[in-house]
């Protein structure tokens, strides 16, 4: 239990998807204009991660990795399908994103319009595929670990986009040089926030 809590905190602050790995930057920069839409997108990312990461882990654990299919029959024990993991992970992610898109369109058309092209882009949000690959790489052993790590990463991403959106809402009242307004200043802001977050890297939990 303690271990899971540590994993959760670490995935939010130390291994933050945006500030430590720079994954999922495109939608992060483009949707962070207002707090409301960025909270919506952040919640969608958490939800998609919560579903996709365990599913991908199960597929990897029971079908793809070397010797994973031994539970079906002993003859399959020396089969290694891990070269397929990339295309399978992305297929699972794309299917689930399509599902989320339909649900959002049905229940919240205003959010659907606000998110625009970036809802389908969650499928290619590097953070989602990144989590699936990190889970594979770090060899988490139980499904609860995988779920906690995925939710933690999602919360970290949510936190980052909500923070940037809040700063950008405030900054509209500031006198920024004209060419730097909007996108330019958000790049520089993210850079400064990333430098600040680098101080978490040394902490060992």
């Amino acid at each position: 239990m303690e271990n899971l809590f540590n994993l959760f905190v670490r995935s939010i602050f130390i291994d933050n998807m945006i500030f430590a790995y720079f994954l999922g930057m495109c939608s992060y920069l483009a949707v962070s204009k207002t707090v409301k839409t960025s909270v919506g997108l952040g919640a969608a990312v958490i939800f998609v991660l919560l579903v996709t990461a365990p599913v991908n882990w199960l597929i990897d654990h029971y079908l793809l990795r070397a010797g994973a299919m031994a539970w079906i029959s002993p003859e399959l024990a020396d089969l290694d399908l891990s070269y397929l993991s990339f295309i399978i992970f992305i297929a699972v992610i794309a299917a689930i994103v399509q599902l989320v898109e339909m649900v959002v369109e049905k229940f919240s058309p205003s959010l659907y319009n606000a998110l625009g092209i970036f809802l389908p882009l969650i499928a290619v949000n590097c953070a989602i595929l990144g989590v699936a690959l990190f889970v594979q790489e770090r060899e988490y052993t139980t499904i609860s670990e995988v779920t906690v790590y995925a939710v933690g990463s999602g919360v970290g991403w949510f936190l980052a986009i909500a923070t940037l959106a809040a700063i950008r809402e405030k900054i509209t009242y500031s006198n920024i040089p004209k060419p730097l307004r909007g996108l330019g200043i958000s790049f520089i802001l993210t850079g400064l926030m990333a430098i600040a977050f680098m101080s978490f890297m040394g902490i060992k939990i």
């Binding site: 992305i90 389908p120 595929l129 060419p179 330019g184 850079g191 430098i195 680098m198």
Partner: protein
């Protein structure tokens, strides 16, 4: 007969409209600095020039052919499952590029391995497929893919140039800052190699670009 008729109505291969598709992504519709697509890889591969150039080439090829294929298939893809179809096409193309790189430039491919895989999740691809290829004919889509790939590559090379030059005093792997400078006390700026500086470099590029082209400025 009908084919001939279509051929007559066809525009010339390089009409003004098509050339515009090639030129616009370089400045007015740049994928990185204006459309905000493909940032993740722009941050990751720009520590040195060489991987940046190989990456830019790979992305250009994949974007161009993915646009071509998706545009040719656009009337047969049901819109509900379009993302999966697009990703399947892109993933297949990326696997081909990966294998070609492995076969011909093995050492560069080893350096790039993770990033070549991440082309699948490069937003430029999905962005252009969704925004352009799904609604246009194959040839303009192909040109659009090439144009956006080049526009992306341009930014990558500029960022990589500054980060390599200021961060390790090199240009395309060769040391260009004379030894004397180091003896006088010049030091490479280690901060430039860290990812946050890539963000700030792109921010400055946007600043320069928008101060030159007024119509891109945001209110």
């Amino acid at each position: 007969m009908s084919e001939q008729k279509i051929a007559k109505e066809k525009e010339p291969m390089f009409s003004a409209k098509v050339l515009k598709l090639l030129k616009n992504p370089l400045n007015l519709e740049n994928p990185v600095t204006v459309q905000v697509l493909g940032i993740c890889s722009a941050l990751a591969v720009t520590v040195q020039m060489k991987p940046a150039i190989v990456m830019a080439l790979s992305v250009t090829i994949v974007t161009a052919f993915a646009s071509l294929i998706i545009s040719a298939l656009r009337n047969t893809i049901p819109s509900r499952i379009r993302i999966i179809v697009q990703l399947a096409v892109v993933a297949a193309l990326v696997i081909i590029v990966d294998q070609v790189l492995k076969a011909y430039v093995y050492d560069v491919s080893k350096k790039l391995s993770v990033f070549v895989g991440l082309i699948i999740t490069n937003c430029i691809l999905m962005g252009r497929l969704e925004a352009y290829a799904m609604a246009n004919k194959p040839w303009p889509s192909f040109v659009d893919g090439i144009g956006n790939g080049i526009g992306y590559g341009l930014i990558l090379v500029i960022v990589a140039f500054f980060r390599e030059f200021l961060g390790s005093g090199k240009f395309y792997g060769m040391s260009v800052i004379p030894k004397v400078f180091y003896e006088w006390g010049y030091m490479d700026n280690g901060l430039m190699i860290l990812p946050p500086m890539a963000l700030i470099t792109i921010g400055v590029i946007i600043w320069v670009q928008r101060s030159r082209t007024k119509e891109l400025q945001e209110k």
